[in-house]
């Protein structure tokens, strides 16, 4: 089924071919290693950094368990304890779990899909540096004794300036938002890569299941993270600029924070779990040497989990005071989500039943996963029941449940995957003996810590207390939990030792050491920067089972896209459904731009933390300049595609078509942006209807001016639509002039919005009403100004010949931003001008 390409290089030249590929794709060393954008390196960096943060989070956990081991014990002062448990949760959730799973996906997805890299390599690199710098900023707060201390969920008003006046909460809000740039950028990148850069012929229904899991996870990140980003921005605005979004006295409501946080927070659990389940669905068939039972059922289960997990967030808020009927909706949805997960579990069990499982170290972790995760899932269903939830709310029962789900659903599969893919990272096999010791120590320690913690919670011990009196029945279970946690730590140390030793003493891995079916085992071990020197056609779900010689024929250059003397990094661009090749996607090479952008963003973050706003302004301008330079080296720019020629019979370069990854990237990014905007709109209507002291001050908002601005934008969008229609028809006359005029129009329209904002007489520090209007208008202003700059840049690029008849792609990307702005402005107009009079305002 794996056809050989007509355009392949002769097999005899394969060594020379690899050398040529290394010249184009190779990674530099020394300081220039900071310019690497390749997904293999970036994925590994994510995982190593995630491993470091895991050890930090684990160390904090050990401090917590030491403090709680004995009643009345005084290892830490209460304030320090608050910082430690807040940072434990924050580090584990934001700096370990999500980045680690994303890092693994960044590493694996192109290899599994038969591609040479992700679609936006520079974005991968930027994401990594944002994660690293944001994580280090957050971590530095511990050493400065100003770490966040309001819990990993930062509930207001505890986290507000009235109750946490220092910079503790600011570290969390700014640091986590910085890190989330990384999460969302990786989400966008993974979605587009999975849909658009698979092997030729790999139709949607032939994709490896892991790719389905990551597709759903990435979409969940795209939609699920923006509510928290918005919440963090609003809370930071409240803390730094006194805008009262969560202050009841001025019309805000602290429960709004809870909604925004858990709108993100509950899907987050599945964002962490789904990649873990993807690992399970990948490994079980390999160790059973048979396909997974019920491919279509599993896809159905994953999709269902992804959607329904967004309908559960209020089950974290059952004790807040929400009507019973609303609680019942969320209770039902919370029970329901167990069913698609159950479908996957039955598929795994059926595969184990029908296959002949071989219990190597990865399989031990998978069995551990099944036991621990099912137990966590069952207590999850218990917690979905409102009366039971009320009883155990804020007790150690919830802590135990959460760890069974998160450690069971993420850490156990991750360990299975780590052992499984270890030969990929090192070219060597792990030790069976040390690996087994590590597993059993961790498994026993984990259950000793957290199984007993259910009991501790049921007999009433609350969470987040730094100590307790003796005689309450909590002494023994706490001591057992603490001893268990040290056994677990010994397990982690053993695993770490095993991994370190295997780099030196591990047996060199043979080709495809586990007899796997997926394409990542068709690379060399460890893989080259370009993964595959030739790209095979793939029409089967198990390409390496179908053709075990595929790795050799790929390495010999017997498949497609083997010409490299043009100097471009290339991979196939395919139709999302059929997997047919549509174009050649050319990818950018190594660049300092991501690192420099992340450095300026770090300066921005630090200056905001220290409230040095003129430095923040300078850093913002510097970031914008670098990002514009970044966007300049794209498409038909000589640095992006030095030579536009392709081989006879090959499709065109994506930058010479009307389609391409940037178009999809913009679409998915706007989806994330839309989720943020809808969250803001939700906040507006929520406060309007629910906030106990909502006030509507006399308004000077000029509705006519806003209407005029919206009408002007509508006219501009229609004009751009016509222009692009002509471009599609091959008419590019007057392109430069029209784009320049459109940029001018967008500038005028933005100026109208600025005038509206300045003349509205808003008092955003006095009422939540004005504060929300201020943010809504500022949001539109920013986007419209961005459209003006982007359109002006397009006009400029036309003058350089980077955009035009031969390269018509980029205006189509910018067009989406115009439509988005149009939708946002009209909705905002309806929300702040048309809606209030119908509801007793203005």
């Amino acid at each position: 089924m794996n056809t050989r390409s007509n355009s392949a290089a002769p097999a005899a030249d394969s060594d020379q071919l690899h050398d040529q590929f290394n010249e184009v794709w190779g990674n530099p060393r020394g300081w220039r290693a900071l310019t690497i954008v390749n997904h293999t390196t970036i994925g590994l960096r994510f995982m190593v950094t995630g491993g470091f943060f895991f050890l930090v989070g684990g160390l904090l956990a050990m401090l917590i368990r030491t403090q709680l081991a004995l009643p009345g014990y005084q290892l830490m002062e209460p304030d320090v304890y608050n910082q430690v448990f807040t940072m434990h949760g924050t580090v584990m959730m934001f700096l370990f779990a999500v980045p680690m799973m994303e890092g693994l996906a960044v590493y694996l997805i192109p290899k599994m899909l038969g591609a040479r890299d992700l679609v936006f390599p520079r974005l991968s690199a930027l994401g990594y540096f944002c994660y690293l710098f944001g994580g280090l900023i957050l971590l530095s707060s511990i050493f400065l004794d100003v770490a966040p201390k309001a819990g990993w969920f930062m509930y207001t008003p505890l986290s507000s300036s009235a109750h946490t006046p220092g910079v503790n909460s600011d570290f969390w809000l700014l640091g986590i938002t910085f890190v989330e740039i990384s999460a969302v950028s990786a989400g966008v990148e993974l979605v587009v890569s999975i849909l658009r850069t698979r092997a030729s012929g790999m139709a949607l229904h032939k994709m490896p299941l892991y790719a389905w899991y990551i597709l759903v996870m990435a979409m969940m990140i795209v939609v699920g993270f923006p509510p928290l980003i918005l919440g963090s921005i609003l809370l930071e605005l409240e803390r730094a600029a006194d805008m009262p979004f969560f202050d009841v006295a001025r019309g805000g409501d602290p429960v709004l924070w809870q909604h925004l946080f858990w709108l993100f927070g509950h899907p987050e659990v599945y964002i962490i779990f789904l990649p873990g389940a993807g690992i399970v669905s990948t490994l079980i068939p390999v160790f059973c040497q048979r396909p997974l039972v019920g491919y279509r059922w599993v896809v159905l289960g994953v999709l269902t989990t992804g959607f329904i997990s967004f309908g559960l967030w209020v089950h974290h808020m059952f004790t807040v005071g929400i009507p019973q009927l609303a609680q019942a909706f969320f209770s039902a949805a919370s029970m329901l989500v167990a069913i698609p997960t159950g479908v996957q579990i039955f598929a795994w069990i059926a595969t184990l039943w029908l296959g002949r499982p071989v219990y190597r170290v990865p399989m031990l972790w998978l069995v551990g996963f099944l036991l621990v995760f099912v137990a966590g899932g069952l207590t999850g269903v218990m917690l979905a029941l409102v009366p039971f939830n009320w009883q155990v709310h804020d007790t150690h029962f919830v802590v135990a449940h959460m760890h069974y789900v998160l450690v069971g659903g993420m850490f156990f599969p991750l360990m299975a995957g780590l052992y499984y893919w270890l030969p990929h990272f090192s070219g060597r096999m792990p030790s069976e003996r040390l690996g087994r010791w590590g597993f059993w120590l961790f498994f026993i320690g984990f259950n000793a810590t957290f199984l007993i913690m259910h009991w501790t919670g049921l007999i009433g011990m609350p969470r987040r207390v730094y100590t307790y009196d003796t005689g309450l029945g909590w002494d023994m279970p706490n001591l057992v939990s603490s001893i268990g946690s040290f056994i677990m730590a010994a397990g982690v140390a053993t695993i770490l030792l095993d991994i370190l030793l295997h780099f030196r003493f591990g047996v060199p891995a043979p080709k495809n050491p586990w007899k796997a079916d997926t394409l990542e085992w068709a690379t060399s071990l460890p893989p080259s920067a370009y993964n595959f020197v030739s790209l095979p056609d793939v029409t089967d779900r198990h390409p390496l089972w179908q053709d075990p010689d595929l790795p050799d024929s790929i390495a010999r250059g017997e498949h497609a896209l083997t010409v490299i003397d043009h100097g471009r990094r290339e991979t196939w661009g395919v139709d999302p459904l059929t997997g047919r090749t549509r174009e050649i996607i050319h990818l950018p090479g190594n660049s300092w731009l991501p690192f420099i952008t992340a450095l300026f963003l770090t300066v921005l973050c630090l200056s905001l933390l220290n409230k040095v706003y003129w430095v923040a302004l300078a850093a913002t301008i510097a970031t914008a300049v670098v990002v514009l330079r970044w966007s300049w080296e794209n498409g038909a720019h000589p640095a992006a595609a030095p030579d536009a020629h392709t081989q006879p019979g090959e499709p065109p370069l994506h930058s010479r078509t009307f389609d391409g990854p940037g178009l999809w990237g913009m679409g998915v990014t706007l989806l994330a942006d839309g989720a943020l905007y809808l969250s803001l709109l939700f906040g507006w209507f929520y406060l309007w209807t629910v906030s106990p002291q909502w006030r509507v001050p006399d308004s000077q908002l000029n509705g006519w001016l806003m209407l005029a601005s919206a009408l002007l934008l509508s006219g501009g969008s229609f004009w751009l639509h016509r222009l692009i229609k002509r471009l599609r028809a091959g008419i590019h006359r007057g392109l430069l002039g029209q784009l320049a005029l459109l940029a001018l129009l967008a500038l005028v329209q933005s100026a109208m919005l600025l005038w509206l904002l300045l003349s509205a007489g808003l008092a955003p520090t006095e009422t939540a009403h004005d504060a929300v209007i201020f943010v809504l208008l500022a949001y539109s202003l920013f986007h419209c100004a961005l459209a003006a700059v982007a359109t002006g840049l397009q006009a400029w690029r036309v003058s350089y010949g980077y955009v035009g008849e031969a390269a018509p792609y980029e205006p189509v990307v910018v067009e989406q931003l115009w439509y988005y702005n149009l939708g946002v402005l009209w909705v905002s107009y309806a929300a702040i001008v048309l809606f209030p009079p119908t509801w007793g305002g203005m």
Partner: protein, 119 residues
């Protein structure tokens, strides 16, 4: 050939059922919250009040839509026997997703028959 956006064979059809479920979920939760704020029904009426009735009607309509779409996608291969394996994957999966969404709508909407809305 690339299927049009409205085509039953377009891959976006796979998720339409759960998108409908999500919109319904937002509508009943948001609708219930807003209605309870504007004009809450008399608690003495129990579950037989205008709000539960409206939300229940919306639930039934959504349920009917989802079941209808499920049937449509399930029977599509019978009407078009020429569908290939890839197209069958889309139609069968879309039918499954619509069925799941319908069941989720019925299950999550069931409390409308048991609980008054604003207590």
């Amino acid at each position: 050939m690339k299927p049009a956006l409205g085509s039953p064979l377009h891959p976006l059809q796979i998720v339409v059922g759960l998108v409908v479920w999500s919109l319904w979920f937002v509508a009943i939760y948001g609708g219930q919250a807003i209605a309870c704020r504007i004009c809450p029904p008399d608690p003495a009426q129990g579950v037989w009040n205008w709000l539960n009735g409206s939300l229940g009607l919306l639930t039934l309509l959504t349920l009917a839509l989802l079941l209808g779409l499920m049937r449509y996608f399930w029977r599509l291969p019978l009407r078009r026997p020429s569908l290939n394996e890839r197209e069958l994957f889309v139609t069968k999966l879309a039918a499954g997703v619509h069925l799941v969404a319908a069941l989720a709508t019925a299950f999550v909407g069931a409390p409308l028959l048991q609980l008054p809305p604003c207590l």
